[in-house]
Amino acid sequence: MSRAALSNSATQKLWRFHGGLHLPDQKSLSCEQSIEQAILPKRLVLPLQQHIGAAAKPIVKIGDHVCKGQMIAQPDGYVSAALHAPSSGTVAAIAELPIPHPSGLKATCIVIDTDGEDRWIERQTHGNWASINPSELRNIIRDAGIVGLGGAGFPSFIKLNPGARTEVDTLILNAAECEPYITCDDRLIRERVTEVIAGARIMRHALHARRTVIGIEDNKPEAYAALQAALARLKHVPIEVVQVPTLYPTGGEKQLIKILTSKEVPSQGLPIDINIVCHNVATAAAVHRAVELGEPLISRIVTVTGHGVHTPRNLETLIGTPITDLLEQCGGTTKDLSRLLLGGPMMGVTLSDHNLPITKTGNCVLALTPNEFGPQGSVRNCIRCGECARVCPVSLLPQQMYWHARAKDFDKVQDYHLFDCIECGCCAYVCPSNLPLVQYYRFAKTAIWSQAREKQKSELARDRHDFRIARQEREKAERAARLAKKKAALEDKSAGTDDKAKKDAIKAAMERAKVKREATKVAPKNTDNLSADQQRQIDEANARRAAAEQDGEKKS
């Protein structure tokens, strides 16, 4: 693994991660126009799950009127995020609607019909955030529903918790934006650099970070200049900005950490395990808005780009805006639109329906035309050339993972560290046989998770079945014991040795009954003036009773 050190103009030592690709960046399509405000849509569709963790729980009902910034769903548990109304209006529905997900499945969404007034709730600002203790700051950020805006959507307040540590060593702000076509972070820095730096300072305070550094790729010289100028103006703010070489996927958290600090995040671990925290610059700007302006996360910048739209640009979009509205505002799609993606060309998701909503993590709408895909050939056999391993930023062996995923040998594929794969797509990009490598790995990962769930269920089923068998046997045993007792008692009775005792017992019982009868004075009624028939019946009954008594005596 190459650990060659490079240096940039600020004499900051940099390291390299293994592999990576130089991709045509296609940024010029959308990076020169300033951010435009998206037109307020008539209807906003807000999935309850726009983040990693448990879905939020709705706290509004259908028909409720909501104001802009009002919380409409609260977090469910620790790893969860709140949801706020992006504009004022009425809750029209809480239903299962299609969401931008590769499966095309539906999920629960809150639908708001906007009233056009865009009226805010009362906002609580915190200008003196430096004097607020970090724990309270984190609560403010949590209640603002802020999640990682770089694409993953992890609830940010959790990543602003240094845990048991007194301080975090390094806070990194990710301005790399390494995927082709996407320019939202670039424009954000160029136009709103003070928000980014203010947010960085708040994060630094929350984490007690020793060192704060903003990493930005060198294909964004204007943004770099803006950051440098802003930091120079501020004086005494210990934030550095470092340019890193443009290489995909520098913007991957693990890769950026390696470049800036030479440290590697342990496998299946988190950056905090090595005292580092990494946040996207847009998340920092959102933190500033939440803390200093009291605005929860209700909008984000979305890059609408590709040759399949007439006027690509960045739009400041309310969360929940249908993508068709954004495409319309960008001049509509062209006739030769071949594929619409949410996200970049390397990691994005195909949108089968253009009417899906923008979520908190939707950073780009990419309209691709046929000649933007690069050479596409037929899928052939793997020729074991090893190019995939040469470009993998995690130094995995994509070839071996492919063979085992193909064979559905899930144990072996995990031996090759399948879950360390960041699904960046470098391997599939270079494969001369056009193998859909990332799809094999995604298939393997989801199948393994599904198998783990099935295994848990079958363990439970086995336990329940065993318990049921035990229960049935116990009941059988109890029944058998009862029967045995009864039988034993019966056999005792018919043993024949206590004849006299039995006869005495019966006699005694009959005496008792007689006494009882006389005591309660239950005497036969209607015994006078009997008709001949009635008398005959009585006599017959008496005769029967006497005969039975005799028989009973005979038997005993």
């Binding site: 969401i99 590769p102 499945l105 999920a107 859909p436 799809q439 769930r453 079958s458 079945h465 318990f467």
Partner: protein, 182 residues
């Protein structure tokens, strides 16, 4: 000639003794094979393999009496696991792969007879005599043993809803399939 035979016989004896000693001295304690087979089976206790539950099937497999592809709820994963464990060939599941279903009681028709409760091998039905019966969806293994005993036919099998979080990416088509699709 005689010395050769003698020499080989002595060698055979010596190595046999060494192997026998090693087999005892270095014996690896592991779960009995039946437990390991049972751990792979899905525990639906449905009886579709022809045995009265997963354990009897596991025992029959350990004795080598039956084939490894008789478990529809287990699907391909179980066949492959068993093939690996027992060193046998992978075969397609008998009767083809089936989608996972769970049982559902129509509450307007249920008469509270408890026949289904007595039939369920994992006690996944909640209810009592003359009380409403209901299937605990999370516990239901889809074995279908409750469907037949119901005298009013109120139990139906419905497919399990897939959520985005439990969705599985499709296995990529091979070039052959891609050709057939196009």
């Amino acid at each position: 000639m005689l010395t050769a035979i003698l020499a080989l016989a002595v060698l055979a004896l010596v190595f046999g003794l060494i192997l026998g000693y090693a087999a005892v001295r270095f014996k690896v304690e592991s779960d009995p094979i039946v437990d390991r087979i049972d751990a792979i089976l899905p525990q639906s206790q449905c009886g579709q393999c022809g045995f009265a539950g997963c354990r009897p099937y596991a025992e029959a497999l350990a004795r080598g009496e039956v084939d490894i592809n008789l478990c529809p709820p287990g699907g391909e994963a179980v066949v492959m696991g068993l093939a690996d464990l027992l060193g046998r060939d992978v075969k397609p599941v008998e009767g083809g792969a089936k989608k996972k279903m769970i049982a559902h009681i129509d509450e307007t028709t249920c008469i509270g007879c408890t026949l289904c409760i007595q039939a369920c091998p994992v006690d996944a039905i909640l209810g009592a005599a003359k009380q409403m019966h209901t299937i605990i969806a999370d516990e239901c293994t889809g074995c279908e043993l409750c469907v037949a005993p119901c005298p009013v036919n109120c139990i139906k099998m419905i497919s399990v809803k897939v959520a985005p979080a439990t969705w599985i990416w499709p296995y990529p088509p091979t070039s052959q399939q891609a050709k057939e699709d196009s």
